[in-house]
Amino acid sequence: MLSFIIRRLLLLPVTLLGLTFLIFLFMSALSPYALLSTYVNNPRQLQAPGAAQNLIKQYGLDKPFYVKYVSYLNQIIHGNLGWSQTMNETVVQVIKTRFPATLELALYSIIPIVIVGIWLGVVAAVHHNGLIDQILRVVALIGYSVPAFVLGLLLLFIFYGVLRWLPPGRLGLGFEMIYNSPAFHHYTGLVTIDALLNGRFWMFLDALKHLIDPVLTLSFLSWAGLLRITRSSMLEALGQDYVRTARAKGLSERVVINKHARRNALIPATTVAGLMFIGILGGVVITETIFNYPGIGSAMAQASEQLDYATVLGLSLLFGLITVVGNLVVDVAYALIDPRVRLG
């Protein structure tokens, strides 16, 4: 098991190199001046007469592509992703301030997806064709067919526009000021957790209130997908010979389902969870934009609108990185569940 994880970790740098090369290829399509924005860390550098020419020389942008690639890698390693025109700060700074917000949103989405999705899938399979199964089937179908932007706008309309219960953004104005004050310690960057650590319970509740709508929007699709997959793989597992063996051993139905069938049903569900992860990254852009949630997704949308290449490319790199790491986690989970995978 350990050797499996080490092997996967050794592959990680190779994948990342491939990722940077892909981003670099996109960059080659830019004009040298637009390209400069992905290197320059401060717009003032560009203001002096002839500065652009000097900078092009300095970053080796007139050199052959392999020299350019190496110099690009060098920039990334030194934590320089360029200047974001939209946010008016460096791209690295944009990521630093906004990524925790997205992480918070994603964590609150993924955890319920996995727990609720799998649990309901198992319940549906066990009550195959029963009332619960029929209801869940309809709910899953709705979740599967309603696009995130429709669901998001609908939720925004009902719970903010009409009922005024769940406002957009990340925090109410008062709490936002507290959050940004120097007296407030930022331990994790996750508002809900920091609020609790600072002993501010009402702020925690306010943050939760702001999270409900985006989390629902972001998770409904994946949640429905996982439910359906778990249901069908659980149904298949329940018909397997080893489940009959387990019953013949005199095990209780609870053990048969939760131990023998479910572990096997999780194998396909894990594969889908990996794909879902990528879906969520895409969903983040839409969801954060709808709810005006200050994460990297909304930053990505704003930057794209204004042709802010540096931000788009920098964030693409980050999205790629998250996908690669996410897939690594899924692979390890896969090996933990299925002993047959550990060999390969």
Binding site: H128, N129, Q240, D241, Y242, R244, T245, A246, R247, A248, K249, G250, L251, S252, V255, H260, R263, N264, I267, I337, D338, P339, R340
Partner: protein
């Protein structure tokens, strides 16, 4: 005679399908005595596996149903037991070995875990004791290096070893009755013989009874004392092995015997029974074998009862008395083998 352990009386099992309800087992009766082996023989789809699943009450929940009959085990009708009491019978009193050792073991748990969890449940052992017990069971069924093998996953074991794990599992709680559903069918011939030997040895040691379900009369001859031949959901011939093999009195049994290739008799091609087992939706009227029977007469359009050929030897054939003479007239080959 030894004590009666299991008695199946007039068992009827049906399946509810989308195309209607079909009867897979229609009025089967048999007994199993303490320490003896009963062979149930028949082609695929004749209801022998359904019979065994009915005894275990493991029919598919939504489709399978026992509509009539009694299954008396140790003096109690287990069909009337509530599910939670039935669970104590399964595995502890009646254990089962399945046909496919490839799929009958759970791929995501170690072989030892799958034996140990049963021991933990029925014998109330701690996890550690149960594992040690599993190692002992593995040694008993002849698995080499049992201390290592308990930590192997099923995909790391050969078919023969997996079937030994199944046997170890089935015998681990010292059941009074073992049901083996074609335990050797999926194995190589040499492994088959080993597994049969092992089963015979262990049955003796544990003084357990066995119901051996098979389509292979050779296996029955080797391991069973009594045999029930099943056809289309009914028992067509029943008796002790020596008698039935010497004096087969149902055309289907005779057909099965003829179908065993014999090196001492030269034939141009292998002999088989013409046709297939009738599909459950279209049972022939009267005797269910009449459409394939070479000796069918008009009388066969009525369902024959089980006739007593000699004490303890039953046959469901109108012509059970003449069948032996008919055979001799036909080809002179004596199919009876003692």
């Amino acid at each position: 005679m030894a004590q009666k352990l299991l008695e199946v009386k007039d068992l009827h099992t049906v399946f509810h399908t989308e195309d209607g309800t079909v009867e897979a087992v229609s009025g089967v009766n048999f007994e199993v005595y303490q320490g003896e082996t009963l062979g149930i023989v028949g082609e695929s789809g004749c209801g022998k596996s359904v019979t065994s699943l009915s005894i275990m009450r493991l029919l598919p929940k939504q489709t399978g149903e026992i509509t009539k009959g009694e299954i008396i085990f140790k003096g109690k009708d287990i069909l009337k037991l509530p599910e939670n009491e039935m669970r104590h019978v399964r595995g502890k009193e009646i254990a089962m070995i399945f046909q496919e050792p490839m799929t009958a073991l759970n791929p995501v748990y170690t072989a030892g875990e799958q034996v140990a969890e049963m021991v933990e449940l029925h014998l109330g052992m701690s996890k550690k004791d149960a594992y040690n017990y599993a190692v002992e069971m593995f040694r008993k069924v002849g698995i080499p290096m049992p201390e290592k093998r308990v930590y192997n996953y099923p995909h790391e074991l050969s078919g023969g070893l997996r079937q030994r794990v199944m046997i170890a599992m089935a015998l681990s709680c010292n059941p009074s009755l073992l049901i083996a559903d074609e335990p050797t069918t999926a194995l190589d011939v040499t492994i088959q013989a080993q597994v049969l030997d092992l089963m015979r040895k262990l049955l003796k040691e544990y003084n357990s009874s066995l119901i051996m379900i098979t389509h292979d009369l050779g296996v029955v001859a080797e391991i069973a004392q009594r045999v029930a031949v099943m056809y289309a959901g009914q028992i067509v011939e029943y008796g002790d092995v020596v008698t039935v093999f010497k004096n087969p009195s149902h055309p289907y049994t005779i057909g099965l015997m003829k179908a065993i290739p014999r090196p001492d008799v030269e034939v141009e091609r292998l002999i088989s029974i013409e046709g297939n087992v009738p599909d459950l939706f279209h049972m022939p009227k009267g005797c269910r074998f009449n459409n394939r029977c070479p000796y069918a007469i008009d009388k066969c359009m009525e369902m024959p009862p089980l006739f007593e050929v000699e004490p303890g030897h039953l046959s469901r054939c109108w012509r059970y008395k003449e069948i032996k003479d008919l055979l001799k007239k036909e080809d002179g080959v004596d199919v009876g083998r003692g």
